[in-house]
Symmetry: C3
Amino acid sequence: MAQFLDPDRLFPADPAQRNIARDLYESVQGLPIVSPHGHTDPGWFAHNPAFSDATSLFLTPDHYVLRMLKSQGLSYDDLGVPRRDGAQVAEPRAAWRHFAAHYHLFAGTPSQLWIDHAMSWGFGISERLSAGNADAIFDTIGQQLPRDEMRPLAILDRANVEVIATTEFALDPLEAQGELAAKGLTKRVRTTYRPDDVTDPDHPDFAANLARLGALTDCDTARWEGLIEAHRRRRATFRSFGACATDHGVPTARTADLAEGEKQPLLDRVLSGDFDPQEAELFRAQMLSEMAALSVEDGMVMQIHAGVMRNTDPELMRTRGPNLGADIPQPVSPAQDLGPLLRRFGNAPGFRLIFFCLDESVLSRELAPMAGYWPALRLGPPWWFHDSPRGIARYLDGVVESAGFLNLAGFNDDTRALLSIPARHDVWRRCCATFLADMVARHLIDPSHARELAGWLSYDAAREAYRLD
Amino acid sequence: MAQFLDPDRLFPADPAQRNIARDLYESVQGLPIVSPHGHTDPGWFAHNPAFSDATSLFLTPDHYVLRMLKSQGLSYDDLGVPRRDGAQVAEPRAAWRHFAAHYHLFAGTPSQLWIDHAMSWGFGISERLSAGNADAIFDTIGQQLPRDEMRPLAILDRANVEVIATTEFALDPLEAQGELAAKGLTKRVRTTYRPDDVTDPDHPDFAANLARLGALTDCDTARWEGLIEAHRRRRATFRSFGACATDHGVPTARTADLAEGEKQPLLDRVLSGDFDPQEAELFRAQMLSEMAALSVEDGMVMQIHAGVMRNTDPELMRTRGPNLGADIPQPVSPAQDLGPLLRRFGNAPGFRLIFFCLDESVLSRELAPMAGYWPALRLGPPWWFHDSPRGIARYLDGVVESAGFLNLAGFNDDTRALLSIPARHDVWRRCCATFLADMVARHLIDPSHARELAGWLSYDAAREAYRLD
Amino acid sequence: MAQFLDPDRLFPADPAQRNIARDLYESVQGLPIVSPHGHTDPGWFAHNPAFSDATSLFLTPDHYVLRMLKSQGLSYDDLGVPRRDGAQVAEPRAAWRHFAAHYHLFAGTPSQLWIDHAMSWGFGISERLSAGNADAIFDTIGQQLPRDEMRPLAILDRANVEVIATTEFALDPLEAQGELAAKGLTKRVRTTYRPDDVTDPDHPDFAANLARLGALTDCDTARWEGLIEAHRRRRATFRSFGACATDHGVPTARTADLAEGEKQPLLDRVLSGDFDPQEAELFRAQMLSEMAALSVEDGMVMQIHAGVMRNTDPELMRTRGPNLGADIPQPVSPAQDLGPLLRRFGNAPGFRLIFFCLDESVLSRELAPMAGYWPALRLGPPWWFHDSPRGIARYLDGVVESAGFLNLAGFNDDTRALLSIPARHDVWRRCCATFLADMVARHLIDPSHARELAGWLSYDAAREAYRLD
């Protein structure tokens, strides 16, 4: 009775509203994908390799999936997640069988939507993964992966990806970007400047990293002016590889506006390694403001992703490393914390800040009022745990009335999983159509205006927010 | 296809629910408006002048509108917002054209609902403002404004406003109120006692203001007893001009219950000008409790509006002043912060406190449970950014199950914009009808009881909460 | 027109969704009730007495009801709530009349749903309580109460209660449990170990209680090792009376992981009576971690109920005591506060923690991501003020996408009111059916999977979460 990936999925149940939503969705379904923030591997596009098997495509790199399986008692060993000690873990087919046998755990989660969509869209699979079809699906995927049309660049084409941004740390050698430039792909596959490795004193290699940044840019990064100049030069290098934005992953949204005389002593302190948590926080805060100052200069769009407590499971970190599911959101205080930055740059011509967090309580209370005032501020789309049908609905419910639609930055898929890109944009477009259909049905907006806004949210907003020319 | 101001706007999409909502709305649509808290100019009603033009009526005084235009890069100069330095800004027609050309920005915001309604209701305009009709609408409005039926008192009559409260600071000369008394309008246009100018040590003229309060009331306001007596007398004066309530705009909800011996030293400290932020906060906190004590004596209903960070853009404050869009909500902690006040007065016979904030996370967590216990406490309606269809829906969703309907204070329009009053009450009544229709359709309430509650929320609750006799 | 307790109550208004919801509900309506956490009196089941009258059954023990009546100005004297000074309060029939005359206050609250259901289910009453039928209903109930089928054990049978847990403090003599054991009821009526009386230094009798615990268990509870051993033994005693879980009512979720050398000095300090609030908090925090360590040993499921400010009205506490409506929720910080406990035990084989709080802002931000990672963690159902149709909807909306369904602990009625048990489970089952029906209608889940999940949420989840064999 139930159809796999019903064409009306996610639309409202009320027949009249559903018809409106379907029309709106159909008007945007074919628009190109703009993916201005994410974590795909630039080497995929530079070298265009074939993927090896279903497990390494769908399971082991997907922290959404791994965490849920672990929460129900499965071990990362049995799921084939590599260990730092090199000890044996399950081989791909065995891991896949475990995953398939527990795929019902993902009912009601966005992971199911994304994986179902990717299996259908990518491989023509027409039934949901289960213990019963685990081997067949593993084999179907394995047979198709070596084909040319399953290589990364072909996937970009098939998915109609107009532009995609990857994210590199400040010290990244940018080798893949050199290759991309040689292939004329710099405007399609753009890097993003994420200098957390040289702005966070709590980074284990912070002092060494600052020295490396100095070497890369021929600046004295032990001096405040030299440090800022090093960023200025490194940002220019990133721009030469297509970067139109910077990104800053920070535990809080705190920014600062130190007096000139306070900066060098703070840098000395954090470089010495002998600093307390407040000093580390103050340094991150001041660096955010410095990055804003550089954005005012060079026009790069500034992104802040704030409020995640990283690596909350020390056992996982020790045995396998980061980004495997143990990161948990925490509250943020953007009205308070962004104050020093916005008081300096909130009205600066050409400055743009896109803010993301995982604390939904600030959407209607702080972020939407702020975005509805400051010319510099745009609201990033629902992030991470909230990039989901209900998360999107709560987001639009919380922000539109005070921020309007035009202060939203469209959609980011923010993913490491290449095949989830079309799936995630599809969910966003369906959920936006559903939101707008309710407004049309309740006579809050004209159908023609709703179509314009559906297009804005699906495509134009991201181009405008990130200044993609 | 879409009708301007569709008669079914805001009702549910489901046909059965919509019919119920329409019936409920029709039962309250014609009820008089009770507007027990707001910021209209009492001079309008005392002197009954004609408004001058569309821009000064709809654009320049409306911080909701100005902020949104600014957020999308328009300048306040081009929108005709006066500058403190007296430099030239756009004249009204030019400003209006800018506004009209960007009116699409308000899609999905309550501003559009209010302005559409006001243009239709006030001036018979039957299409939405746009670049194309900007001049025609500017002229239509301009031609009608000089007519008698567009003067403030006629607007009160046309809108069926039974009673409206304005808000004056403690030191206000109350001249308009004298005129209103002479015209026998004191019970229809009531003042409200808002003593923030003499209770907030962070007010730039605090010490001078306290001296002026002393002079006005013949009390020694440098002595604690004299200060309280001065409030007692000033409140009586306000009551003689119809005031039935006080109002307190405070950054936090903090209240205090100092020992007798601590009060005079704190007053000395804040009067000296040499005090820290904690002392200022403690003085405000204690003054809230003192105001409660006076309300127990004199029966005035106490309103607290807590949790706004004011004037977050120093450039705007310096060039043009306050109330132009740069005020941002912040979290509040009513369960903790109102404790000292409620422990003393929460059960006091006759005491009534109406609490407002912009932190929706406290609605279900703290405010509804508190209002469902303390006899003194009523919940103010959704305020400011949340006086909107979705804000109202979230409010009712968050409070009714723990506070019931009878502990709600009905609706406040809280506006400076005279023509938005009928629009705002209309949105509230439609949204309440929608909320109740869902309850009827889901068999949680009888239709006849729903009609009673629609009337309560639309009219009786405000009269009862503010003790309008 | 409106039917009392319409069979479709709480289902969605949309006809197609309603049909799906009704089918799902019908598939779980007859499942046995599992009630793994609550506050019924174990003496009821041990001694099986008849209840005396409607007032002592429905009014005086129900803090939800009393508080709402008080908030609207009724006095606890007039409602028959006993006073500590023994002074006369209203007799049952007079109190009942007051209650009945104000029953309209409960419109929109879960209390009305529960009481309507209990009157219908328990006594065959077919109209809503009101002033007009107060005496008749009082008499109807009074006539039925002496009958055998209205005695506690018969009510368990009629309500199809498979297992029910009561909650006893560590020092409870467990007399009723002895009687239950003699009757072979230990597996049906289980106790729960709630050691707040010996873990909270702010308890007025804390030191004496620790001494009593030592005496009961033959341990030196003034020594840290002795204290832990005393808990170990007392937990074993509780297990012998069917306990499968512990429960911890704490103001915050804070946990600690003190070094061995810090524990005895802290115990000495709190036993001395000369300690500050931070030390009391630290002791509670460390005791939570110790309880987790004992759960790892003995397999008892650990429940934490965090974040209530108790007894906020000192006048009520002084005149009548606790649990009469003046408890107010406060914010919690589980990601931060549970860290020390989860870092030690979050991956411990066999450990299970079920967490409850009243701060809905942490559901999507912290709790669902945490439960979707840590094998030890399950999310308790909506608690107290949020055990209501809208509270349940917000809960499922906030947790399912990140935690899935399988990390939820099913339902707890958590009640002192025996007759509300079937009513509360019925509301939960209807609301789950409504939630799942929306997913089916929007093609997010198959109908057959929805039926499985309806059964899981209604029955299996609670058995699994609490390890009921």
